[in-house]
Assembly symmetry: C2
């Protein structure tokens, strides 16, 4: 994996300011914390209530924060000397009416509501802009922990066939054509045919659909063929919403009877790489990082 | 609706040769037969076994045919003096191994198998070419019965709002961008966001997904907003695989909580227009034929 120097703000004394890490679900936030701390930079953990699991944070100092309660987080982070923050981990886009807003957030509410009416990218970009106006620099997790990015080449033992490579090229072409539309980031291609396109349902639901379409005979390419292709959207803010894969993705791909996964190297996060590789090798699923800008 | 003159081959005696109509499911084949006969041209009905319903044909002369048994059809149609044929009605793409081939078809098998490996368009176009090489001219149902096409403007009482028109424009743009990929012909757009893209699952399954995404809170635009947008694919052979809507489409759109349906006028077939309009008016669903080539 890449060992490019990680971003970070250096204080006058040569000491880096602590990094505020807002933690969604899954183990990826803890992996990022470990990578950053291994570089000597202190990290403050802010797990999101209702999303991060309490048991994952029991052994580490942390402060719970709530979605839509930006003020509480901002005060705690500023008091600890943080100027930079990263948001990482799985996140279910919240229902607007389920959020309870604090005062700071309430003041920003008209603009947040406007963002909610747009697409996903629009929300995320607006969110980042609002936070930066409050005095924090928002970094991508991959900027402070480049180890989490998928490298070029295959992860694990399996490799794509020529047929798989043709499916991958078609999938990347399709995602390039639909990039301007702020839709999904993933398609399933098999037999040189786009079988499913992700939009609001997300990657996991799309993979379930492929399994069902196979069962009902509407997708007829043989089990063990076809590829899940993921790519960033055009103009997607990679600090905040990078495509990601993990062991769960491999399991969904295996259940859908596909041959493998292709993502864009350097623009895709891999959560739990050791478990992902183990799952891929168990199921004979290839996981390929394709060069950015390339056809395959 | 258009009253353009219908296609037809005139025999030396000034009599039109009978039209061979291969009938899939639904009532549309019978409507086409009625329109053609009302113009004075005789029609021979060839319902497809396992797809057309026997009770629909009990009152009319007909000859059952089987998929993949082209020889039997060709002999009967030639004996009756048919030179032109139309295929119309709903069709489930058959599983290759479920077909039982007759001799004529068997001779064409390598090319049929090659077509099956491509996308839907590829199969259909190859099928038409094979049939034409056997001496039949394949016409689109709309060429012999232009009454089945959606006209410009609305069918029924409801009309799209300005918000709906913005969703329609976005949907048409998306379908134009993905036209070269031989994928689906439909998207659901609401709140200026593409919420679902049809691929192998078909329009009905996509509409079911929208209903589920609404129930689970992943699609959050209000009930009664959003549009099903359908358009022909680029280079789609409209003789054989034109987008179509019917009362069933309106019911799916109503269950998905959408405001309406937009299709391309003159390039979309409407099955059972009276029932479609009744269903649309009952559910306050608009059904709009947009000008071909226009944005809305």
């Amino acid at each position: 994996m890449s060992t490019a120097p990680a971003a970070g703000q250096v204080s006058p004394a040569g000491q880096q300011s602590p990094l505020a890490l807002i933690c969604g679900g899954g183990s990826l936030p803890l992996a990022v914390a470990d990578y950053v701390q291994a570089r000597g930079r202190p990290v403050l953990l802010f797990p999101l209530q209702g999303i991060a699991k309490p048991e994952d944070y029991a052994q580490r100092p942390h402060s719970w924060v709530r979605l839509a309660q930006f003020g509480g987080f901002a005060r705690a982070a500023r008091a600890a000397g943080c100027h930079e923050m990263v948001m990482i981990g799985s996140m279910v886009r919240p229902a607007f009416w389920q959020l309870r807003f604090d005062l700071t957030t309430l003041m920003l509410l008209p603009r947040i509501a406007a963002a909610f009416r747009g697409g996903d990218d629009h929300i995320l970009t607006s969110g980042v802009r609002l936070i930066e106006e409050q005095g924090f620099r928002v970094l991508g997790a991959h900027e402070v922990a480049p180890e989490i990015l998928v490298p070029e080449g295959t992860l694990g033992r399996s490799h794509p066939s020529e047929r798989d490579r043709a499916d991958i090229a078609l999938g990347l072409d399709y995602l390039r054509a639909t990039g301007p539309f702020d839709v999904g980031q993933a398609v399933v291609v098999s037999g040189k045919h786009v079988q499913a396109v992700e939009a609001a349902e997300g990657t996991d639901e799309m993979l379930k659909r492929i399994a069902e379409l196979r069962a009902s005979g509407r997708v007829r390419t043989p089990i063990g063929s076809g590829v899940l292709v993921k790519a960033p959207k055009l103009g997607q803010d990679l600090r905040f919403d990078m495509p990601s894969i993990g062991p769960f993705t491999v399991e969904g791909v295996a259940r859908a009877g596909l041959a493998g996964i292709a993502v864009v190297a350097g623009s895709t996060i891999v959560a739990e790489p050791a478990q992902l590789i183990a799952a891929a090798d168990r199921a004979n699923i290839f996981v390929l990082g394709t060069p950015a800008g390339g056809q395959r």
